[in-house]
Symmetry: C2
Subunit: 502 residues, 2 copies
């Protein structure tokens, strides 16, 4: 038993080391790698992922897990070891359901699909991507047959990103959410404030944007000796290790709000990564987020709950102005706060406002589920997409680039991923609601730019658990209930009705 | 036989992939990694080097090599395959001489020695480093006993960096070189130009230095899509793959000449890496430099032969001035050229001038050889160092930081490495001598800033061979003779007697 325990710890440690290497290979590819390095890089990443996968599905590891899981052995384990063995067994069992030949087939297909998607998007021509996406959808369905969870097939897809989440639960939450957001949006649209609103035409040079992002990076308590910020086309967060968590932002847009909120969003992810449980769980399967939805709740929490709030801008607007070109000097805090929270139905998800964001996600969920259920065909997607956009937001994309081709997720075979973005938004509102109950001074702390108690609250209620519990259990434990769109909708109404005077 | 051939190609390919990963882990550590990431990084690097080492010394690989090496099989191999099998057999045979337990012991020792050296250097206190260096010297001697080449023990150390080079050959070259450089130095010292020379007090802001480095990076034909330049404490070059070769420079000094010549030096290494043989030899043991001396010849070639020449500055000084603060406007090309080639005996090797540089190297070679031969003790090093500095250059370091503790090499167990720096300088002069014979227009091409023919000559005479031949064979093939300090001394005399009017 000692031998088995040593073995599983050693393997988890090596898997964690491989994970850090894979993260660096990916980070470098997105930030600094010279373009011609791509071919070698794909082989470097492939070998690390192959070595990891071989270890995860090895019979040796499985046998040791089985030894430790026998009830007479399991009972004798320490508290931490029990948690680790249970979690590891579940992960490994699931990984072993999928044949290696399938994994290889999926990698090959997506490796070809990604550049095809890029080209299709560039040319705004869905036909280029169509045959690839058709293959991927077939493979996703094949994947469902291996995992084979009860209920709709799509359950087996979303479970990879949001363990325990189901189509039924999502349909219930999302149908309520959709109706409510559309209702709020309609009210806002008929307001005179909306009809007369003009987006501030902000044009910041890169250096000014960078200065502001560096300030907020530090204000949000990201430690300089364990984290850093670089630049990539699509902002992201990645961990090379417990003490090496990196975010990226992007300065391509003249408007500084994109780089600013990207930085805040990724900072939220990074703070979570830096708060993963160490004592007793370092370099084990526990030291990770239980779901992408919970991870996204951390980024949305800082992005929306904190940094789009009036309290925050009361504190930060003078600082922001101070690092701005002259153009801001004429605008007072109310104009600015409104500008930061402008409701503006638009085509691109990553540029959507806080209110309409979830509509983008729900659209993708409905399409994915219908594809997997064979209710629609891949070839019909552009039309279906555009019709849904009209139905949800009353706007129609001019072309596939700003429609069905905008996201890279499908080219990577990541079906089931999108819903976690909305789950994260909902969770973030529930967490903020609870935080305000637990700490009545939170708004005045934000007004002072003091985020220490807020971070400490997140550390104690979310971060420290890692995967000891599921996301659902963690949220229930903290907020007294699981995923609840009503809290989010109430938050949206409170905020946006006031902003639009409806 | 087909199976064996496939096997050795597959293994070499994977080793090359691991090599690229290791390079990225190292590059990131020296450039962007947050300081606290060091612990995880050391484990990431260790696992990759362990996986590589296991593959190199595996019986399976050795058996396949032996099958291919049997004369009846070997005869049937294609030209390229023969070269690869021979080279691989030699490498693997050597690696298998060293027990894995020893490799581990050395890694553990040097892992502790490196921070001890850093601390010792910081505090300028050799005693902190002493016990570590004593262990390392013992391990180096143990290593010699495994490799066990004929002649002095030190032969087994230098062979790792400069295959085929021996203590006897080095002593012969270095004793001549030492006498000659000291003679030239004495003559210069007694000149009135030397007595009255004043180094220009150049103070460039980082951004100006960066601008100039970016210009020369491009002028030297480094392709932007396959290479890049970053910043690290000690400048270096590394390859993540055939199309991903990166250099670093350093802007900590106010004087822009350090970052400029570091960039040029590393650019020379990078051009070599980018010119490695591909057709038929891609991802094999052949696609590498045969020796560090030959690698250094490429960096020294661009640094000294090209970019410290009068022709070069006739071309580049106006460009340099253009990116400079006002301080340069009063100096004409002659003053500038003299300033770039100032002879100034000093303590720190990496800051040494072209003339005295090799004296720094010879000092280290003599010390290393005496240590390995048990003729001196580690505890005596500070005194021996300082006495030798006095003997060679007539100056005495004030402390160990600017003396025996200045280089990191010994903390890493890299005995036998230093001589390659001088070998590189000598080779570079031989190559330039030959280039001038082969292309009589070379100086006028440099004056025009046109380096295409020069690079193409290096590609055809050095780069394309990879490890098809040894460094000695490549130099003989190109220059008609092997290592010859006389050519270098003649070059130094021509250049510096003129500069100092002696």
């Amino acid at each position: 038993m000692k031998e088995s325990l040593d073995y599983i710890y050693k393997e988890q440690k090596e898997l964690s080391t491989f994970g850090g290497i894979a993260a660096l290979l990916g980070w470098d590819q997105m930030t600094y790698m010279p373009p011609m390095g791509a071919l070698d890089r794909s082989e470097q990443s492939a070998i690390i992922s192959r070595l990891s996968h071989e270890r995860i599905i090895s019979d040796q590891l499985w046998n040791h897990i089985e030894i430790l899981s026998k009830s007479k052995n399991f009972e004798k384990l320490l508290y931490n070891d029990k948690i680790i063995v249970k979690r590891l067994r579940k992960d490994v069992k699931k990984a072993r359901l999928v044949p290696s030949t399938f994994v290889e087939k999926l990698v090959k297909t997506t490796t070809l699909a990604y550049p095809a998607w890029q080209e299709a998007r560039e040319d705004s021509d869905f036909k280029i991507f169509l045959p690839h996406l058709e293959k991927i959808v077939e493979l996703e369905k094949e994947y469902c047959s291996y995992i084979n969870l009860p209920g709709p097939k799509y359950n087996s897809l979303i479970d990879d990103y949001e363990e325990g989440m189901t189509v039924d639960k999502l349909k219930k939450e999302f149908s309520y959410l959709k109706t409510q957001i559309i209702e709020i949006l309609d009210k806002i649209r008929s307001s005179s404030i909306f009809k007369n609103q003009i987006e501030l035409d902000l044009k910041f040079p890169v250096e000014k944007q960078r200065e502001i992002c560096n300030i907020i990076f530090e204000k949000l308590l990201l430690p300089k000796d364990k984290s850093r910020m670089d630049v990539s086309t699509h902002p992201f967060t990645t961990s090379m290790g417990y003490n090496d968590v990196r975010i990226t932002t992007n300065f391509e847009r003249k408007n500084p709000l994109f780089s600013f909120f990207s930085t805040v969003h990724e900072a939220g992810h990074a703070l979570y990564e830096l708060g993963m449980p160490k004592d007793g769980f370092k370099d084990t399967v526990i030291s990770d987020s239980p779901s992408l939805g919970l991870h996204e709740s951390q980024s949305r929490f800082w992005e929306n709950m904190i940094c789009r709030s009036k309290s925050f801008w009361n504190y930060f607007y003078p600082i922001f102005k101070n690092s701005s070109p002259d153009s801001l000097k004429d605008f007072d805090i109310d104009i600015w706060y409104r500008n930061v929270n402008l409701v503006k139905p638009s085509f691109i998800r990553v540029e959507a406002d806080e209110l309409t964001y979830c509509l983008h996600v729900i659209l993708r969920f409905e399409i994915e589920n219908s594809l997997i259920e064979d209710k629609i065909k891949v070839s019909e997607l552009p039309d279906i997409w555009n019709n849904k956009m009209d139905e949800l937001m009353g706007i129609t994309p001019k072309n596939d680039k700003e429609g069905v081709l905008q996201d890279m997720h499908w080219s990577g075979g990541n079906f089931g991923y999108f819903p976690t973005y909305a789950i994260g938004s909902i969770y973030s509102s529930q967490l903020f609601d609870q935080l305000c109950k637990d700490n009545i001074n939170v708004l005045s702390e934000i007004e002072k730019g003091d985020f220490r108690n807020i971070l400490s609250w997140l550390r104690n209620h979310i971060h420290k658990y890692g995967r000891i519990m599921t996301a659902d259990e963690i949220i229930k434990n903290t907020c007294g209930e699981g995923l609840n769109s009503k809290v989010f909708v109430q938050y949206l109404k409170n905020k946006y009705y006031k902003l639009y005077n409806v």
